[in-house]
Amino acid sequence: MHEPVISISNLTRRFGAKTALNEVTLNVPAGSVFGLVGENGAGKSTLIKHILGLWRAESGKVRVFNLDPVADPVSVLGRIGYLSEQPDLPDWMRVHEFLRYTQAFYPKWDANYVEELRQQFALDPNARIRVLSKGQRAKLGLLAAQAHRPDLLLLDEPSSGLDPIVRNDILTAVIRTVTDEGRTVFFSSHLLEEIERVSDHIAMLHRGKLVLCGALDDVKAHHRRITLRFDKPRSEAPRVSGTVMVTGAGRNWTVICNSSVPTRQAIAVDRDAEIVDEGAASLNEIFIAYAGEPLPATSMA
């Protein structure tokens, strides 16, 4: 069993009256692609800032490579590649200057890999960063983040607001990193399709609380969507063991449940229900079930 790359226990962070993170505990296994899901304001970026050591743990403990990122930033940050939603790049530099500047901090910088990615991303080395488009900035940020082949690639909503082509480029790069070298990727997103496509582990944050954490396959296997029809209209929701969310009215109801027991057993209480449809719940449905509110249209894609 590998030691977790990131180990967080009972992490709590409050901003005034608002609790941004509430007793969060999670472990990120080495070599995994770990997706962090949550609605806007769920605490994803706050959690990532704790991992980077940009926030001190108010209570609880954060360890990255078994080190405290606040006490030993040099050792921790030297092994991390980080890309944020809006990469904070120095606008006054040129692309090649920025890469040279970043290279100086990482002894394991792979110049050939950088050149290969730069050409793949079609980035002009002489262009000033301030004239790059949003997509080009994201690509440059990603390039700089993984050019030193970090042990941990930390991506905070890397493809939010980007067009599908750029998003695909970024995802391809992420997948390649992992499949090629078995390194760890921790990335946050509210684009569930993206998470589902590349992650093998996921964690779900809802209003600062970790509501779900585990291997993606396990999560999907343990959540089912059951559509029920009753003989007579009913005013109250059907009772199914392991129910996470129930929607519907009258005779037709849909239940998302987290249960490993067989369906018939699970709805044993409501013997008059007919199972119209039953299947594995999608990540989107699981997310809505836990977050308790529908996702915006753009995130459903």
Binding site: L52, G53, L54, W55, R56, E58, V70, P73, V74, S75, V76, L77, G78, I80, Y82, S84, D88, L89, P90, D91, W92, M93, R94, H96, E97, R100, Y101, Q103, A104, F105, Y106, N126, R128, R130, V131
Partner: protein, 592 residues
Amino acid sequence: MRSLTYAMVWDVWNRSRYATFLLLGITVLGLIVHFVAPESMRPDGVNARTGQFVLHWVYWHLMMISFFLVFAIFGYTEFNPAKSSTGFPHRLFTLPVTSLRLVAVPILLGIVAIEFIFWTWTGVIIRWKPTPVTGAVLFGTFMVVYQAVLWTLGRLGALRLIVLALIGVAFFSADIFLTFPNSRLTESSVIFGSITVAILTFFLSWVCISRQRAAGIGWPAFATNDRLIAAAALLAPYLTYHLWTHGFSRPILLGFAQLVVLALCGVALLRTVHDLVSDRSSGRRKGFRSSLHAQFWFEWRRSGLALPLLVAGLVCTVFAPLSWIEQAEPGATFRILLWTIATPLILSLPVGKAFSKPDFWSGELSLPSVVAVKPLSNTQIVSSKMKVAAVSAALTWLIVIMFVAVWFALWANAQTATLVRLALRPQYATAILAAISVVILTWRFLVGSLWLGLSGHRISFSVSVLLYPLLLVVGTITVDWIFRRDQSRWAAFQQGFDAALPTLVWIAMIAATAKVWFAVKTSRHIDRYFLPWFCGAGCFAMTALALSSLVNVVPSQPWRLRIVLVCLGLFAMPIARISLATSSLSRNRHRV
């Protein structure tokens, strides 16, 4: 809205209508006072002297407030969150109007407003004699320069105020120099120069706003029209010759046409130079030896050249021309020398405040994430800032020394130059010590606020910024009160200082001991800094001792004074605050 121009005028009016009402109110008040005041109190009345004496204070203050209000109204800028800077209202870039109109409307409105207020006060209310035509032209030009600086130097942030203050002083000085009996400046040359500056600045604003509108790419149409530029380039040598030999052409419209053609040629030249520089300078091509070198380069590019460039700019635009114009005056030469030497020290105070922030050009006090996530310790980040400050201070003084050396060798007043040489000859060691001390002092002013700036604590940083003008005002008033108005006060001050000296010695020694103790306690952060600190403090102490023997201020207890000076030397070199800077940065970088 009837037209886009009208809409833009309305926009200017709407965003500062209260200030405009206040301005009009003050001006109307001035007019009412002027017309209602009894005949005897009017400046142009029978008892003109009495009238001036009574009304002078009221008029002067109301007029100054009016001028400030006009400039406040036409500080036509807005914050651009995308660039984290304040500049030309970005939202107007999407309007279907040309860049020329975008620039021309606020500038022309500003000129009309300042001229209206200026003539109302000086022509109608105060009735200055002779008519201050030069002042009116200078005010109009300053309005153009003022708006151009605010729009085009957004990245300078609050430093724009220093730039504007320096330009304002230059304009004011030009008007003052006209009153000197032997001045080489004439009214027509100042008016001509001022209008030239205004037109060139207008064109420059136009170019810059056009480029801002196109995200830094491209030039306005007139600057890329090859035929226009070729014609301007052909005419330019003749026009320059004509202006040099015959002055500003009459009728006045012909003169303006001359200036416009020259401005076109200037913009074309600017474009050519820009294209050449952009093509040639492709940035740093070499790799870095280490992460510390990379961070040093980063800090240097962000902030290292600010002080040297400001000082070099002042030397080129103010001190060098002044020293040339006033080379016949020994007293003026000496004063210019003193100001040249004082400038780096004075400028290092405000520049040091900007320098102490995590990013020199940003109003944001949190550490930029591009630096925060780099595998650098807090000590290394602070250390790279301190090294940049040291090189910056050294380069600044190199510029000053080179200028003074060339000036004194070639065109300085011979009498003053001889006096300075005679004064320095027996004191070379002291002069060298003093020179090293001023470099260290400049460095100290640059890094002295790091512990506040890097803390990310906005209130304490803002208070520390406000403290400088406050101390300046209080200090000026105190010095004026003690030394200038009454000679007996100076004697009393000397006696009091003499009596307090034994106590001062104890206070200084205790404080110095406390400082060293604190340094030892916090040596974890600053162990590498001990040697520079020791050398710097030693240099200060030796300079203080050397100077104390030259200036015999307290004859009765010179040895006590020396102890105080040595302790002050220890104090002048920061140590505790350097240690605090690392802790402050740690709190800022790893927020609680």
